[in-house]
């Protein structure tokens, strides 16, 4: 379970260009839920996702993951939490173009404590996502849909509890976007993963179990 209590995030604090990206946000996300986070541009969606994924720390407030407070952890421990508990999927896939598919997917394994059966685990994951035959291809040779599947494989490879997706279908056509969304739904249903998805697309949001609306850094 994820719990946010009075989380605020201020950029450029005490400067003329100070931005209050999040204002006293309170949010509880039950395990095994699938939620969409919606809001206009600049409303604080991505900031919320960054704090949830330990890519950023709140200016104030309390963040608990499975009852453990995370805001006081040092960078090394936060990196470990990121590696073990979260998988990230973003709009432009964030793949390393010069790496082959297998090498892209194995990155989180190399930063985890358990590096056993690395190759088998990667191939199994690619098989589950229907792109096993692309294992030895370079990322730049793949289509948008295939790239997003590679990104999902990388997000799932360490068997995290939570998948954080920042507009995962934003760079795909409608059909491919739906296929990617179906993958998320399947993962959620079959593997009981918590999925939090930032999106602008109401059609996608409606397929989630709930919607978190955010505007001007506040949830309503």
């Amino acid at each position: 379970m994820i719990e946010l209590h009075n989380i605020s995030k201020i950029y450029n604090k005490s400067k003329s260009n100070q931005v209050n990206a999040l204002k006293e946000v309170n949010l509880t996300i039950e395990s095994n839920s699938m939620l969409a986070i919606m809001g206009p541009s600049g409303s604080g969606k991505s900031t919320l996702l960054n704090i949830l994924g330990c890519l950023d720390v709140p200016t104030k407030g309390t963040y608990k993951l499975h009852n453990q407070e995370l805001q006081a952890l040092n960078q090394k421990k936060l990196a470990r939490v990121r590696n073990q508990h979260f998988g990230f999927v973003v709009q432009d896939f964030a793949l390393i173009e010069e790496y082959k598919v297998m090498k892209n997917v194995e990155i989180p394994i190399l930063y985890s404590g358990d590096k056993t059966n690395k190759k088998e685990r990667v191939l199994e994951m690619l098989d589950m996502l229907g792109i096993k035959d692309k294992a030895t291809e370079y990322a730049y040779n793949l289509s948008g849909g295939q790239r997003q599947r590679v990104a999902i494989a990388r997000a799932l490879i360490n068997n995290p509890d939570v998948i954080l997706a920042d507009e995962p279908t934003g760079a795909l056509d409608q059909k491919t976007g739906q296929q990617v969304l179906d993958i998320f739904k399947r993962i959620h249903q079959e593997q009981n993963k918590t999925i939090l998805m930032v999106t602008h697309d109401e059609r996608i949001a409606k397929q989630c179990e709930g919607i978190v609306n955010i505007e001007d850094g506040e949830i309503y």
């Binding site: 960054n50 890519l55 950023d56 090394k76 010069e98 990388r154």
Partner: protein
């Protein structure tokens, strides 16, 4: 550490072309800067050479002017005066005398090289090699050192049946060998007796040319006792020897004793000219040359270091997105900083090894390499700061 080293090595391999260019640049810069410092060092050494040579000495050269009223005097008597002068100056502890005669020889059947110079003999032009005929004291005065072989014996005498031993400047080492014989256009045979170490110099006093490198010279011994094949063979008469001689007086020993010997001459007026002024001029001109060279070198170094800074910054910026993806997947910023350090360190290490293999100035290469490493790493600092402060999500969104 191991994971980051593995990634650093994989990165180097994956982007081998980029790193190869970076490596070549760092190597060239290392060698270029090394060469700059090395040349400054050589000039400084040459300057010290002048300083040391003239420190305890008053230096003279000799001119002979004919006395018109005694034009019919006995030549044998004159020859004896010159021999006495030569013998006294050579044997007396109060004096050091040596002679240097610049010339050119055409060498037959020598491999192609860039040491020959074009010399005009009347209407024809030939490719010839610079020789410097020297008497034995020259070697001691300028503290010449050999890379190979041995100097000719001080009592060497020319015989037409034997080859003339020569010491070659270091530049000849690439295409000549020890004991190799060669002949010139007058069919005089020479034999390589040794090679000078690189960077050997002497001070040209007679013509006031200052410090002259011996790297491209052929040193031939002078013999004043044999008068066969005169001038073509290293043999010279006493007059030629004395007219090209430099006389150093030690421990403030005056030139009086030598003047007394020459007073008997009825054919020539012997004048001993002090070169104190010339020496001072040469010192100051060498000092100026070092200054000019230092100025040029500073610009070369600024240019080279700017290249390193630009390259390192480009390298870090080019990889920021990739580093962000790793952070995203569980790496810490410290991991990334370590990986970046290792990549630059490996390139630097390879460049240093290559530079050490190419250059023979080991100490200078090591010092220059260390400065370059510090420079590369300090260049990374702004990028590290950027990496430590940027929003990872922003970097990942930023398409290149």
């Amino acid at each position: 550490m191991i994971t980051q080293l593995k990634y650093a090595l994989e990165d180097l391999w994956a982007k081998k072309l980029y790193f190869l260019l970076f490596l070549i640049q760092i190597t060239i810069i290392t060698l270029l800067v090394t060469q700059c410092f090395s040349l400054i060092y050589q000039k400084e050494q040459a300057f010290n050479n002048i300083d040391d040579t003239f420190e305890a000495s008053d230096v003279y050269y000799l001119s002979l002017a004919e006395q018109a009223k005694y034009i019919d005097s006995n030549n044998e008597e004159e020859e004896q005066i010159m021999e006495d002068l030569y013998t006294y100056a050579t044997n007396s502890k109060g004096y050091t005398i040596f002679s240097t005669i610049n010339d050119y020889i055409e060498i037959k059947e020598i491999p192609q090289n860039d040491l020959s110079v074009e010399v005009e003999y009347g209407p024809t032009k030939v490719q010839a090699y610079q020789t410097l005929a020297i008497s034995p004291a020259f070697i001691d005065v300028f503290r010449l050192s050999l890379a190979k072989g041995k100097f000719f014996a001080p009592n060497w005498e020319y015989t037409s049946q034997e080859s003339i031993p020569v010491i070659l400047g270091s530049s000849y080492q690439t295409f000549m060998e020890m004991d190799q014989k060669f002949t010139d256009s007058n069919n005089v045979t020479y034999k390589v007796a040794g090679f000078l170490q690189e960077g050997q110099n002497y001070v040209d006093i007679s013509f006031g040319e200052g410090v002259v490198t011996l790297d491209d010279k052929i040193l031939i011994p002078i013999d004043v006792t044999t008068f066969e094949g005169i001038y073509d063979t290293g043999n010279v008469d006493f007059q030629t020897y004395l007219e090209n001689a430099t006389i150093l007086t030690t421990n403030n020993h005056g030139i009086g004793e030598l003047s007394n010997i020459t007073k008997k001459s009825q054919l020539y007026n012997y004048t001993f000219h002090s070169v104190a002024g010339v020496a001072r001029y040469m010192e100051s001109s060498t000092k100026d040359a070092v200054g000019v060279f230092l100025y040029i070198s500073i610009w070369v170094i600024i240019f080279a270091f700017s290249l390193v800074i630009i390259n390192t910054l480009e390298f870090v910026n080019k990889n920021l997105r990739e580093f962000s993806i790793h952070i995203f997947c569980g790496a810490t910023r410290k991991d990334i900083a370590l990986r970046l350090f290792l990549q630059i360190f490996i390139v630097w290490l390879l460049a240093s090894i290559i530079s050490l293999l190419v250059s023979d100035r080991i100490i200078i290469v090591l010092l220059v390499s260390l400065v370059l490493l510090c420079l590369c790493l300090s260049t990374c600092i702004p990028s590290f700061i950027k990496l430590f402060h940027l929003q990872i999500s922003d970097m990942i969104r930023r398409k290149e």
